[in-house]
């Protein structure tokens, strides 16, 4: 059974693509790969929903059921190569609106992890939906393969708990992350102005 790529809300794909093309046409994309790309060659692939968890949820032993939907993410391709990611966030009227385009390390890490994920034997047994889990304050970003029966997490490089590109059970992933979250040194108050 192939990995299921969910359908984003109506209009989100076209809206993001339009914004991306506009940014490209106005020189609004600044890495070497995107700056050299022609606007009409940029395309979107691999839609997946983004979920977030707080470090406090993790440290308190919270599970994936505490994850909150935050928007949608696409991979941006130029001439068949993944060069960026683009994300939406919900507008007050509930529609998904373009929020950002990213050219950082988790773009390439996603591309590499996707190649691993598509070969997982477990995909044959259950229908998994692709999601992204982000714990910003722990700098953790992971692919989240969700099915009604099982959840698998694949930390993206760089990962504070290591195991980049490896498939982990939800229990193992949350345990490792909780231990890491609890060991985080506290930050003193800011110095006076």
């Amino acid at each position: 059974m192939p990995l299921h790529l969910p359908d984003p809300p109506s209009g989100a794909h076209d809206h993001v693509k339009s914004r991306l093309h506009t940014l490209a046409a106005h020189g609004g994309l600044h890495t070497k790969a995107l700056r050299g790309a022609r606007a009409d060659q940029l395309d979107l692939s691999t839609p997946h929903q983004v979920f977030t968890l707080g470090a406090d949820d993790i440290a308190a032993g919270g599970g994936l059921d505490r994850a909150e939907p935050a928007g949608w993410r696409y991979l941006v391709e130029s001439a068949g190569q993944v060069v960026a990611s683009a994300e939406t966030m919900p507008a007050p009227d509930g529609t998904q609106r373009f929020a950002n385009v990213n050219e950082g390390p988790f773009v390439d890490a996603t591309d590499k992890a996707m190649k691993v994920v598509r070969k997982l034997p477990k995909l044959e047994a259950a229908g998994f939906e692709l999601r992204l889990l982000r714990v910003p304050s722990l700098y953790l970003t992971a692919l989240w393969l969700h099915s009604p029966a099982e959840d698998l997490l694949v930390p993206l490089q760089p990962s504070p708990i290591g195991k980049e590109g490896k498939s982990m059970s939800a229990a193992e992933f949350l345990s490792d992350l909780a231990e890491y979250a609890r060991s985080r040194p506290s930050l003193p108050p800011p110095p006076p102005v």
């Binding site: 940014l23 106005h26 609004g28 966030m89 950002n100 050219e103 988790f106 040194p185």
Partner: protein
């Protein structure tokens, strides 16, 4: 959003573009490369979309008027000689440029605000004479530009004499290092700022951590251990002489533009919903179709372009921008 009369007074060094209200995506172009001290010269005409020669700085004058300086050719100013402009409406006179002419008689313009948010440029030397741009046929970008720029009589608010002024795109050549330890966003930002102003520096993230923590093992085994702690960036920035202001607030789009116009990236502190915080740099901005964007260089998440509104309130979905540390050379 086009600039308003109030915006003009606070522009400082921020570059702007001057766009025709009538011809789609046609901008005022000024090529001052051949202008020397011998007198007026150069070329002022039109260009499709805005590049280097379509960027200007407004220089305010004591009488409330402005001179218009080229960004591509510093100290070269827009010149308008309205002598002999016909009354037939055909346009005439001469518009070109001149070196070191800030505030000169033919180089000052009263910017007449229009109801649609645009401005007409009226000569101070010859009241009633307005800057005129005819961009017919300017449908592709060419090295030499095209169309006609000259003067028109009594044309305040005319279709060919009205221009939208906008802040130009701003992007600093700033490179953010990836943070070498999970809690070294502060160190990566401080080192990157130092390298931006002083490329010859030998400062590294771990040597900075050694200094901050009074240790000597942060470049080795201690890096991932006791040295891997969060910190506020303003203390090391202050020590290095790179902290301009420690602002416990966010910046408006105009304030961001002012910092970038000084060639100064700034550090933003983002607080996550769970109470932890993170720092990153902002090194560019632009506005497209009325949407303001910022360029973010993040030591953990890499380079990105965010809408200003989402950067302020929903960075990485659960981050809120709260403090700003401006930098200096």
């Amino acid at each position: 959003m086009p600039l308003t009369q109030a915006d003009l007074a606070t522009l400082g060094n921020a570059p702007i573009t001057i766009k025709s209200t009538f011809f789609d995506n046609v901008y005022l172009r000024m090529d001052g490369t051949s202008v020397n001290g011998a007198g007026p010269g150069g070329t002022v005409n039109c260009q499709l979309n805005a590049g280097a020669k379509e960027r200007f700085k407004l220089r305010p004058q004591a009488d409330g008027s402005y001179s218009v300086e080229s960004v591509a050719s510093p100290n070269v100013f827009l010149r308008m000689d309205g002598t002999g402009v016909p009354t037939t409406g055909a346009g005439g006179g001469t518009v070109n440029c001149q070196l070191n002419a800030n505030g000169g008689a033919n180089h000052k313009f009263n910017l007449r605000a229009q109801s649609n948010g645009s401005f007409s440029f009226e000569s101070v030397a010859i009241p009633g004479i307005f800057l005129r741009l005819v961009g017919s046929g300017v449908t592709t970008r060419t090295d030499a530009g095209g169309g006609i720029v000259n003067c028109q009589l009594n044309a305040n608010g005319g279709a060919h004499e009205s221009f939208f002024l906008s802040r130009d795109d701003q992007l600093l050549n700033f490179v953010m290092e990836q943070q070498q330890q999970t809690y070294w966003c502060w160190s990566a930002c401080t080192v990157s700022v130092e390298k931006y102003y002083n490329p010859a520096t030998t400062l590294t993230q771990c040597t900075l951590a050694n200094t901050e923590w009074g240790r000597n093992d942060c470049c080795g085994a201690g890096g991932a251990g006791a040295c891997n702690r969060g910190n506020w960036p303003q203390t090391p920035m202050q020590r290095l002489g790179r902290l301009n202001q420690d602002l416990r607030t966010t910046l408006t789009a105009a304030q961001i533009s002012d910092e970038l116009a000084k060639g100064a990236p700034f550090i933003a502190d983002v607080i996550w919903r769970d109470g932890n915080s993170h720092v990153l740099a902002v090194h560019g901005r632009h506005q497209i179709d009325g949407v303001e964007y910022v360029k973010v260089a993040d030591p953990a998440y890499g380079n990105s372009t965010w809408t200003y509104d989402d950067f302020c309130a929903r960075y990485q979905n659960i981050g809120t921008w709260r403090y700003s540390y401006t930098t200096k050379r």
